[in-house]
């Protein structure tokens, strides 16, 4: 408690100092830190080297699916979009508002939209190997490019909804996302070092999962950690959180496929 009260007084004093110097300071806001910065040397090396990176197996599966024209419509992803390289930059703008429906869609949702509307195929299940592979393939085309989602117009409401979840305490342990991913970045939670909780590595290969997983699966794991009722992958709540995380990651490069503990 002593620490809490002293911390609060200190924070207030610091806030006052910052308010005073803000007009003169170039960038008062601390830069968000990707989990990549806290990886062990071994995992960082694996992520950086595409011949070692286990997530690349899914990117390769994605390449095969991309070209697969053995579907009733006879149209593969490649028939409409050409080479996967044409997707360069797309992941920096997602999630985004679908102009026709007004819904917020992430890359997974966009892929399923194409399957249903243009390929006359059923939507792929969230977390299926095929959807993970195609999502990883698309996101990987933007590796190294910086995030820059639009948050104006219809996106604004979703952004605020995501922010509200992010900043509210939840679960039996009564902890908000922000308490870990803003106030305790760089500190240790058991064997993990807490990052800014960004989505830039996803879909990512996680050792705990022994496979590739979506960002929404990671969000579920954090909700489980505080014993909260989890939102479902693909739900509006998770999409709104994804948009808020993407906005927090503005200026940060995409890493897909990331390697995580």
């Amino acid at each position: 408690m002593r620490r809490g009260v002293a911390g609060k007084a200190l924070r207030r004093a610091l806030a006052a100092v910052f308010a005073a110097i803000a007009p003169f300071a170039a960038e008062a806001e601390p830069k968000a830190r990707s989990a990549r910065e806290f990886l062990s040397l071994e995992l960082a090396a694996e992520q950086a080297d595409e011949t070692l990176n286990r997530g690349m197996l899914w990117v390769e599966l994605g390449e095969r699916l991309w070209k697969d024209g053995s579907v009733p419509s006879g149209r593969s992803c490649a028939s409409c979009h050409g080479q996967p390289g044409g997707m360069r930059g797309v992941a920096t703008r997602y999630p985004a508002i679908n102009r026709e429906t007004g819904a917020l869609v992430n890359i997974e949702g966009r892929i399923n939209g194409c399957r249903v509307q243009h390929q006359s195929l059923p939507a792929l299940a969230y977390e299926s190997e095929e959807l993970l592979a195609l999502t990883a393939l698309v996101a990987h085309q933007s590796k190294g490019m910086i995030m820059s989602v639009a948050v104006d117009g219809a996106a604004r409401g979703f952004l605020e909804q995501g922010r509200a979840v992010y900043e509210s305490r939840q679960g039996q342990l009564n902890i908000a996302c922000s308490q870990c991913h803003e106030q305790n970045v760089g500190r240790k939670l058991r064997g993990d070092v807490i990052s800014s909780g960004l989505g830039v590595g996803y879909p990512a290969y996680r050792l705990t999962w022994q496979g590739l997983g979506s960002l929404h699966r990671r969000l579920k794991a954090c909700q489980q950690g505080v014993r909260a009722a989890e939102f479902e992958p693909g739900s509006t709540e998770h999409l709104s959180l994804e948009l808020f995380l993407a906005w927090r990651a503005r200026g940060i490069p995409i890493e897909t496929p990331g390697i995580r503990r």
């Binding site: 408690m1 620490r3 809490g4 009260v5 609060k8 509200a164 900043e167 509210s168 305490r169 939840q170 679960g171 039996q172 342990l173 009564n174 902890i175 908000a176 308490q179 870990c180 106030q183 305790n184 500190r187 240790k188 939670l189 058991r190 064997g191 807490i194 489980q224 014993r227 909260a228 009722a229 989890e230």
Partner: protein, 148 residues
């Protein structure tokens, strides 16, 4: 955020009154920054308390705290080191901090281990139940006071 917590409090209290007294929640009296009387008049067992603190399925306190248990790898550092806690705080002060640290610091990260109201979106299997029972709280208190 404070508004969201307030709304959640309202909902949670409505739920618990319609479902009757929440199971396994002991009553207690706070005075100053302490709860003097052991919950349900129980006498804690320090050895059991130690395993509750360390066990990942029990209190799992080491996700955030360090304790003097050198053979336990991966101790967290989000909260203060609990080594010497029995010298810094009295038994009664430790009891309140475990039961509901938010009474001392509204913005605390320390979870409320024996409280069920004012929580939002609790997973079904944990809803209406405190993280630690009255007996477990007393066991943990009994071990922490020995850390001088």
């Amino acid at each position: 955020m404070r508004r969201a917590v307030g709304a959640a409090l309202l909902i949670a209290s409505v739920v618990s009154t319609s479902a009757g007294e929440p199971r396994g929640l002991a009553s207690f009296e706070v005075s100053g920054d302490s709860i003097a009387k052991p919950l349900d008049g129980r006498i804690g067992d320090a050895e059991r308390g130690r395993s509750i603190v360390i066990d990942r399925r029990g209190g799992n306190c080491l996700i955030c705290h360090r304790v003097p248990a050198p053979d336990e790898p991966f101790q967290g550092d989000l909260g203060p080191d609990l080594g010497g806690i029995g010298g810094r705080l009295t038994e009664a002060q430790i009891r309140l901090r475990l039961i509901d640290a938010s009474r001392l610091n509204a913005e605390t990260l320390m979870p409320p281990y024996h409280r069920v109201e004012g929580l939002a979106r609790v997973a079904k299997e944990f809803d209406g139940r405190p993280v630690l029972t009255a007996a477990e709280i007393e066991d943990v208190v009994a071990w922490l006071v020995t850390l001088k």
